[in-house]
């Protein structure tokens, strides 16, 4: 009986030592153990505009959520519930307003991502034009001081022109 208990202790300490050693190696960066990788939630909820035609426009990371009054913010992964509650997902305040005006998220044309974080701006195409929207900080997901968060700005007719426009800093 005592022997069995000692064997149990030994096996347990072996398991524990294995975990400690693995954590040490992982912490050192010499061996990257993917099992110990954990996602990190980021970003902040930002009131982009309140009370636009009975909707609140709330920014989170790169998206603007148009939320009808009386409904709370819903986790962005719960797409079905968001649709049920009449929440629209847009890439800028202006796009969110276009959705609210149209009463649907399915408007045409819609902002379509062309390039992410070019010198602090995300580039979107909208019809035949390119629009720049300030990108969020890549690590924290919070707005940067580069410009009015979630505000779209016409930047050119194509991506190259838009990039020149951003570089010129106009």
């Amino acid at each position: 009986m005592r022997q069995r208990e000692n064997r149990n202790i030994f096996i347990f300490l072996l398991l524990w030592s294995g975990l400690v050693t693995t954590l040490f190696f992982h912490a050192s960066g010499r061996i990257d153990i993917s099992l110990f990788h954990f996602p990190q939630a980021k970003g902040i909820l930002l009131g982009a505009e309140m009370n636009y035609k009975h909707f609140n426009l709330i920014g989170l990371r790169e998206e603007v959520y148009a939320i009808p009054h009386g409904s709370g913010f819903i986790h962005p992964s719960r797409i079905k519930l968001m649709k049920k509650k009449g929440i629209f997902v847009a890439h800028s305040i202006q796009e969110a307003k276009r959705m609210v005006d149209a009463g649907t998220e399915n408007i045409e044309p819609k902002l379509a991502l062309k390039e992410k974080n070019f010198q602090g701006y995300n580039l979107y195409s909208l019809g035949s034009r390119i629009y720049a929207v300030p990108a969020m900080h890549p690590e924290s997901g919070a707005p940067t001081p580069i410009g009015q968060p979630y505000s779209e700005r016409l930047a050119g007719k194509n991506v190259e022109e838009a990039k020149k426009f951003i570089v010129s800093g106009e």
Binding site: N8, I11, L23, A27, S34, F38, Q40, A41, G43, G141
Partner: protein
């Protein structure tokens, strides 16, 4: 009595844990185990201020160097008389904190094991000790001076309580009394208050009526220790009542829906919440599905043989389940209750886990064969299938968990499979001896079926794996560096003012303000150069002073507040602010006559040090409107001594320290009553012929402590000689 192997086993476990908690110290150069925010900005600087005063044989009552004078005694973070403060007398701050964390971890595992071993087998004791130690709240706060002794003190005191039968009564009383005194002086008042029900209820729940006398002695020790340390505790309540912290809580509103609050029990919210969750709330609510399910099944198995386990079951429910559930409810639904809304109620879990984990330990120890009622078996089967089926449709059922780490999936599957093994083992018909399920000396069944051996091994492996997210998150093991950004480790240089060259440009005995969030700490760490800071970052920083500064638009509120534009040079001068530290040049200041006297760079950031054209000092005379700044003063413990020039006019003498009713003033040895000026500073009237002024903050004297201590000793003596207890002795 523990066998030699068991002692070595516990020693090895404690040693590996203590090495693990300071892992990066071994991996990275100049890396130490301390937090650059709470530790470096608060504990280190306040302990330095306290040590300086103690070395001059004065009670450390006020840190003159912080926020126009911040109370030291009764500050929720400093604890200059704590047991863990001793290391700071001998070692540099960053090393003292590193040593403290390692030593406290080592001792916590030892005492936790000794305590749990009274109820569990050695194997179950070890895994349970790890679960309690690495429980998110306790492990996160092991980093902090004012919390790090909480679990250790609880375990030591409960262990001593449980030894009432083998200890001589004098020793029993004395050990408990000392234990409680150490607790009151070393641990923040909130965890102390939360721990008190455990200290009171543990013995009666464990030993019932047999422990009546031991319980009486325990209560006497608790009360007399509370009396001995009462001045220390009372001053905290006085300080906190008027503090900024009494008006708001950083702990509410983070998980706002019931769904989020429930999900946070299974996967740390910092991994799946829609927005970034800061600080300990990114993990603190995490229990893991394994812990919760195994604890529930453990309770079921105990309940099945309730007659044999009635005391243990009662103890787990009263000291484990009820506090855990209450802490959860109060944390999320107690926002309307005064006091409760200002505190983090989940801190009760640091202690309730010690008891809740016994249910898990009992599950590992018990013979699963015939251990469950048929209804429980159905429940286990349904849970197992439910968990396994749910795990495969997780993105649909719980979209929030659609991107959780693979390790959590392993824990979920491991839990489900373990439940199936428990179910099969409980149905198997083996003939082995029933285990002795009593409070003491449980050794498990003599024989274990292969299935249950595998199942128990699996449970232990799953529980160990479930600790990994916490260890990795809390210690920042994914960062692969010792950089700022994790509260467990930092480079030694971050423990002090950086860039250091800036300090040499300022004259000691004058005041600065840094234009930055107080968490950056320049204001607080300026004490190392003998410079006084202005910004507020303390639990006990005054609400009244904050309101005055806000009214005059002098500060920006940000945990707590810092001085910021628009600059009002005249007011800054009257507050004795001679230097301003900025991260960028300011034409606004330059227009008002401020001069840049130093520009330094640190980690790619430029710092500009500006000097006030008035060269404002801590003391000024007011005769008419214009202040005359005096330079002939000396900072003394808890006060300031001023040599006045020959005066041929009367007026007011203002010292730029925030007025509190404990400030006293003496002019040429004669006491006068100080008052508060419009900016909240202390002032007294001055007449021609006055020569010296002493302002001293005096709330407590050594006599107060001595009186309390003597009262406490008197209670001990009365108890010791009490006829009933003498009979027992």
């Amino acid at each position: 009595m523990l066998s030699r192997q068991e002692k070595w086993g516990i020693f090895y476990l404690a040693l590996t844990v203590s090495i693990l908690v300071i892992a990066k110290v071994f991996l990275y150069d100049q890396c130490y185990s301390f937090d650059s925010n709470d530790d470096a900005n608060h504990t280190f600087v306040n302990l330095k201020a306290a040590r300086d005063m103690l070395m001059q044989w004065s009670l450390p009552e006020l840190n003159l160097y912080n926020n126009f004078g911040t109370p030291l005694l009764g500050d929720a973070l400093t604890f200059p008389f704590a047991l863990q403060s001793i290391t700071y007398w001998f070692l540099p701050d960053y090393l003292a904190m590193t040593v403290n964390r390692a030593v406290i971890s080592f001792l916590a595992i030892i005492t936790l094991s000794l305590l749990l071993r009274q109820f569990l087998s050695q194997r179950a004791t070890m895994i349970c000790a790890l679960i309690v130690f690495f429980s998110p709240g306790q492990f996160w706060n092991l980093a902090h001076h004012h919390y790090q002794m909480s679990l250790l003190c609880l375990c030591v005191i409960l262990y001593v309580q449980s030894r009432h039968a083998s200890l001589n009564k004098t020793m029993y009383l004395l050990l408990l009394w000392i234990g409680y005194i150490v607790l009151f002086l070393s641990v923040s008042i909130q965890p102390v208050l939360l721990a008190i029900p455990f200290f009171i209820l543990f013995l009666p729940l464990k030993d019932g009526f047999q422990a009546k006398r031991a319980w009486t002695i325990n209560i006497v020790a608790l009360i007399s220790a509370a009396i001995a340390t009462w001045p220390h505790t009372a001053i905290f309540f006085k300080n906190i009542a008027g503090s900024t912290r009494a008006q708001w809580s950083p702990y509410s509103g983070i998980l706002s829906t019931t769904r989020e609050q429930l999900l946070a029990l299974f996967v740390p919210p910092g991994e799946w919440m829609q927005y970034g969750v800061n600080g300990h709330f990114s993990i603190v609510t995490y229990y893991s599905i394994a812990y919760l399910v195994f604890a529930a099944i453990g309770l079921l198995s105990l309940a099945y043989k309730a007659e044999a386990n009635v005391r243990l079951l009662r103890m787990i429910v009263i000291l484990g389940v009820i506090p855990a559930v209450s802490g959860y409810i109060l944390q999320f639904y107690g926002q309307t209750i005064p006091f409760v809304r200002n505190v983090d109620s989940t801190r009760i879990w640091w202690f309730s886990n010690v008891f809740l984990v016994l249910a898990v330990g009992k599950l590992i120890d018990s013979s699963w064969n015939q251990s469950f009622h048929w209804l429980s078996r159905c429940l286990i089967g349904v849970s197992a299938l439910g968990i396994l089926i749910a795990s495969f449709s997780l993105p649909k059922l719980l979209p929030e968990f659609s991107e959780i780490a693979p390790l959590h999936m392993l824990v979920i599957w491991g839990t489900g499979i373990s439940l199936l093994v428990i179910l099969f083992s409980s149905l198997a018909k083996t003939s082995h001896r029933e285990p002795s399920i009593t409070l003491q000396g449980l050794e498990g069944s003599s024989e274990e079926s292969i299935t249950s051996s595998i199942g128990k091994g699996l449970i232990i492996a799953v529980l160990l794996l479930a600790q990994a997210p916490i260890i990795v998150h809390v210690m920042g093991l994914n960062m692969h560096s010792c950089e700022k950004g994790n509260h467990y480790f930092n480079h030694a240089k971050e423990a002090t003012f950086q860039p250091q060259a800036i300090l040499s440009h300022m004259e000691p005995g004058y005041r600065m303000a840094s234009v930055e969030s107080p968490g950056e700490g320049h204001d607080l760490k300026a004490i190392y150069g003998g410079i006084l800071g202005s910004n507020a970052r303390a639990i006990v920083s005054s609400q009244q002073l904050m309101e005055i500064f806000t009214k005059f638009k002098l500060v920006t509120l940000d945990d707590n507040y810092f001085f910021s534009p628009p600059w009002q040079t005249e007011k800054l001068s009257r507050l004795g602010i001679r230097y301003l530290l900025l991260k960028q040049q300011s034409t606004e200041l330059e227009v008002q006559g401020w001069n840049v006297i130093a520009v330094e760079q640190y980690l790619g950031q430029q710092f500009f040090l500006y000097e006030n054209p008035s060269k404002a000092s801590l003391v000024h005379l007011l005769h008419g409107d214009k202040p005359v700044f005096l330079k002939s003063y000396e900072l003394v413990p808890n006060g300031i001594k001023i040599q006045l020039p020959d005066l041929d006019y009367g007026g007011s003498l203002v010292a730029s320290f925030f007025y509190r009713d404990s400030w006293h003033a003496w002019v040429d040895g004669k006491e006068v009553i100080p008052t508060m000026n419009a900016l909240g500073m202390i002032q007294i009237p001055i007449k021609p012929g006055h020569r010296t002024v002493l302002f001293q903050f005096q709330k407590l004297t050594a006599r107060d402590f001595l009186f309390s201590f003597l009262c406490s000793v008197a209670i001990l003596l009365i108890t010791y000689f009490a006829p009933r207890l003498q009979r027992e002795r």
